[in-house]
Each structure stands twice: as C-alpha cells, then as structure tokens.
Symmetry: C2
Subunit: 364 residues, 2 copies
Amino acid sequence: MSTNQNDELAQERLIDLAAEFYDQFAQGDIPHMDIPTRTKSNIVFDEESKVWVYGDRKSTRSANSVRGARKLLKAAYAIEFLVNQLEENRSSTLRELYYLSESWDNEEAQFNDQSESNQLIEDLEIVSHVTREDFHMRPEESGAKVMGPLHIREQTRRGDRDIHCQEDVGQGGYQIPNNPDTIEFLGNDAEFVLCVETGGMRDRLVENGFDTEHDALVVHLGGQPARATRRLTKRLHDELGLPVVVFTDGDPWSYRIYGSVAYGSIKSAHLSEYLATPEAKFIGIQPQDIVDYDLPTDPLSDSDVNALESELEDPRFMTDYWEEQIQLQLDINKKAEQQSLAARGLDFVTDTYLPERLDEMGVL
Amino acid sequence: MSTNQNDELAQERLIDLAAEFYDQFAQGDIPHMDIPTRTKSNIVFDEESKVWVYGDRKSTRSANSVRGARKLLKAAYAIEFLVNQLEENRSSTLRELYYLSESWDNEEAQFNDQSESNQLIEDLEIVSHVTREDFHMRPEESGAKVMGPLHIREQTRRGDRDIHCQEDVGQGGYQIPNNPDTIEFLGNDAEFVLCVETGGMRDRLVENGFDTEHDALVVHLGGQPARATRRLTKRLHDELGLPVVVFTDGDPWSYRIYGSVAYGSIKSAHLSEYLATPEAKFIGIQPQDIVDYDLPTDPLSDSDVNALESELEDPRFMTDYWEEQIQLQLDINKKAEQQSLAARGLDFVTDTYLPERLDEMGVL
C-alpha cells in the first residue's frame, strides 16, 4: 500500500472514531470508547500471526465522570489535529503534540503532562487499527542504520531518492528514516539480515567487510531498537523473505533487545503485527558461547539475576531453548559482551564465531 | 593533510614514545612519562587559539614503583598494538582494546578494567599530540547526521563516495563517519551551520525545509555530541568559514552541550584545538526567550539550580552574556525545551523564532 493510501485510511479511521462519539450522543448514549486492557495478563499468543496480541479484556473510557469526559474531549481535539495534519501532509512528534495542546482554545482539552498525550495516541492507535506513523507522528528517537547489498527508493519530501546501501553511502551506512514505509525495495543480493546491538560491533563487521563477504544486511540496533528499525527489519523479512538473526551482548537486558525485535513489547502488543519479526533468531552471545569460546566475562549482578528470573516467567521466553540458556547462565553466574570476542583477535568474530553460529542455525 | 599522512605521523610519534623509554633505559634513568595534570585548576585559556588547554602542571608516570612500572609496560604493549594496527590499516574500539589485552602474552600487561585502557589512550593522545582517531581507535558512539547544501567526498574502505547532503540522502540525512577527517569538502551553498540538540527538532527543521530556505547545514547533536560530530562542526567552521550556531533546550545540561561544541571539556582539553569551535554561538533556548516568547516551562529542580550555580563558577561560562542569562534563569526559576516552541504552532520555530534570533546575532 502506498503511503498516500495509508494517509487516507488513517484519516477515515480517525473520522470514524469521532463519528462514533457523535452517534452515541445522537442516540442519547453516554459517549465512550472501549480499549483492550494493556497488562501482562491480557496478552495472548496469536497462533496465526505468531505474535503476542491483546486478549479479550477491555477497559472503557466513558464520559460518565468529569475525568472521563475530559479524556474524550482531549481525544476529540487530538483527532481533529491529526486529521488536519494528514490533510496538510505534515507530521509532528509526540512532544510537539503535548506542547501544541497549549494552543487549543479549550483549556480543558490541554494535556497535563506528556505521558497523558502519549497514552492517548496509543489508545487511538489501538482503537483505529492505524499506527502512529500513519498518523504522521514522528518518534523522538532516530532509526538506526543499514549497510549491505540492498537497493532502495525512499520517498522523501524533496522527491524520491534511489540509494544502494553499500555503494551510495559512507562508512556510516544508510540512515533509516522515521517512517520506513516510505521505502520501496528495488533489489537486493542479500542472504540474511544481521541485527547488531552495539555500534562498536557494527563498525567491526563493516570494517571486516562481513556484509560483502556473506551478503548480509547489517542493521545497527543501537541498544533498545527504535520502532523504525524494527519495522524495517520486519519488512526485510516479510517482503524479501530474508532470515533475520539478532546479535547482542550475553546478558538479560540484551535478551530483551532480541525480544523486542522478535516478539514486541507488552505495552505495544497492538503493534506486534506491524513491528515484530517472530521468525527472528538469536545468534548470541549465548550463555553456551561463554562456555564454548571461553570468553572474558563479568559476574552477574543482583539485578541481572532478577532480570533473568523474570525472563523465566515471561511467556515470550518460555521455550526449551531460552529456559536452557537462562538456567545455564544462572549456573555459571557470568555474562559477556559481544565485543569480548576481541580477546581472540579482531577477526575472530567474522572469521570464526559468526560463520560457525550461522552454520549451526542453518542460515549460512 | 591526507589520512595517510596522518597515519604515518601517528606511527612515528608512537614509535618515538617507545624509543624514549629505550633511551631512558640506555642512559641508566628510570623510565618515565610526563603528562599534564588533568584537573579544573590546570586548564588555562589560550589567547591565540581561543580554547581552553592544559596549563604547566605535570604528573609523572614512573617505573620507580611496581604499580608505575606496570603502567609503562601496558603503555608499551598498547603502543605496539597501535603501530601494528596503523601498519595494517585497521581500526578498533576502546572496548576491543581492553578485551584484546587478554590475548597479550604478558599477563602483567593486561588491563584491569576499561577505565584503565581508556585512560592510557588519553595519555598517549596527550603525550604524542596525535588524536585517538589517528591511532584508528573508533568511538562506540556514532556521529550524528547532516542535512543541507553540502557536497562531500568520503574516503571509505570500499572506495570514495561522493555525496550531496540533500540530494543523495534520505530524510534521515548523511550519517557522519567515525573519523570525519576522511571527508573532503567538494562544494557548498551554505550560509551557516545550525547544530540542533534533539531529534524531534532536527526533524521539524528538515520537514519545514529550513535547510533549503536558509541554506543552513542542519547538524543533529543527539544530546551530548560525539567527537565525530564536534570535529566535523569545527571543520565546517574553520575550512569553509561558516558561522556555527547551537540550538538546544533551555536548561543547564543543554548549556553544557553548547559548551562541549564551543569549548571542549576539561577531560579532553588536549583535544580542544581539534574538536572545539570557540566561535560557535548559542542561539537558544535562552532564559530571555522564555520571557520574551512566553514559552511553556517547567520549574527548575534542585539539581538544575546546582548545575546553574556550578556553571557560574566555570571559567568557560564567565562572560557577561552567560552570567546575565544564568542569573535570569535562577530568578524566574524556569526552564523550557526547544520543542516547547510548538505551543505557538508547528511553524513558529522556522518562520519566527530562528529568523529573529539569527537576525539579532547577525548571522542572517
């Protein structure tokens, strides 16, 4: 679907929401909006799409109290703003929306703080089945960067740009735009997508020419990945049929980074189908690697242990693989960073570790 | 100077350092290395270069104790590694260096933690007068991105890349490489450089076409700017003669971001001549703007007040301008974010605020 069609659909859905309030008024009903309950206990695994989505439990925002009525008033103002923004083909950040509300003539409609406006946008995403990006809400966080044999066309405000993500970019790679749905894939010689947590490791792979040698698309995650990075990763998988592997440090926080690529988060389960790549596989650093490759390590801290134990109870990590690895890590009481592979020399990661792991996983 | 010449110079200087130890041994002296004391009390303003540099006070690292001898041994190993790295035209991160030391055959030469290896590299930078980038040590942090009428040639490991920072890049702009000295400026139609703190504001300026309308090079700082970003900014000023203005939030932490662009930091005063742009001017958000434009604000926290008071005692902020602005901020007890300008509408920043400020400052 082109971005223009997305814009029209988003406008339509938003106007439908407002129309619903109108109809409720007309029928003498108290206006209200039903929203799935967004808690750990209300996420369920959707067998068809292989992602975690919200279950059947609902909360209701109703105008039957002053507080509730104010919430719906703010929703109506926000809908008006978003529809105009789409009409004018503009965009804005969540932060700007919060400040913009100060200019709304009805003081009751102004947001008290940014968490309130952020939540409203999430509510609107869920109820309208349209993503924030299609409301033209830009994130504060930038997407990361891509290096590899991929030829794209990006639709920008200044016209289309054809960019080859090896030949037309500097050492820093191609910067993912805020809305990666403006990207069209023109062609590629890629065998797989390798998402990498740290900038240091990303630069190591690029310096060692891993992307050219193995026809890999190296996607830098930069810690917890931005929505734009996760969306592009999903599109590379779904539309180009490329396997996706995730390469992070070997600690519980990094497993969550993998989790956010593969499964999405509880807070944004309504976006799982848009952002999550459930087929993404974890390449390492696995606790098993710490043992097998005798890597330099640090001992687990108390908060590491707590985080590992909480992952053991997280439905998204309840697989034989993760239970085994996490249990092993608790037993050896060690963690290792991806750059610790340098203890075996600067080429060990590209000459030995990654090829061995990719072979084991059936990717290479 | 081309990057190859830089490499040779770096190698030479490093070998000179090692030779000095050798000479000291040969003369029957205890090997030692003199390093400027790196404290607030030992930075002085250099009138000629207009930056803060280290004063005359020195500390000595000497082999007259086991601890000191071990430090010099580590220095000798690190020098050998760096010389080989330059020889082979490779590069590595500070983190990799720390892990690599585990593979050094002399166990005494291994680093205890990364702060030790980081400090050693800083020592070597200071003593050799060569920057870390010229040792081919890459930062973990990525440089930010540029959008504007600038045509560059970047020397990459895959060959040269000619890139126009508006016409050949996506909405995300041109990603600054780790070592911006690999960039050659081919041409530009720019009037000035606008460094911007937040991603949200950077995207606002690009969406509103501020770079095309005012021939501005919009450089995203992304919080505390990476060395690569500061280096490129300095080169844009020095080599292209472009005025540099810095646009941040209006709080003491953001004034430090301005300070790091303009003056450098105490910890890296040896790099001021390489990284700092003393002619860079602060555009805002000024405390005066909070009053003049009646911006939405938050009250100062205790730590904000402390930071402002500490800035009043910082030699780098001892100017009439900063004393007046900081005093005003303490009086009104308010701070404002750059995106708070959105309270006056999404175009206020590009149609009104920036043109007015740039005119006042004599840039436009």
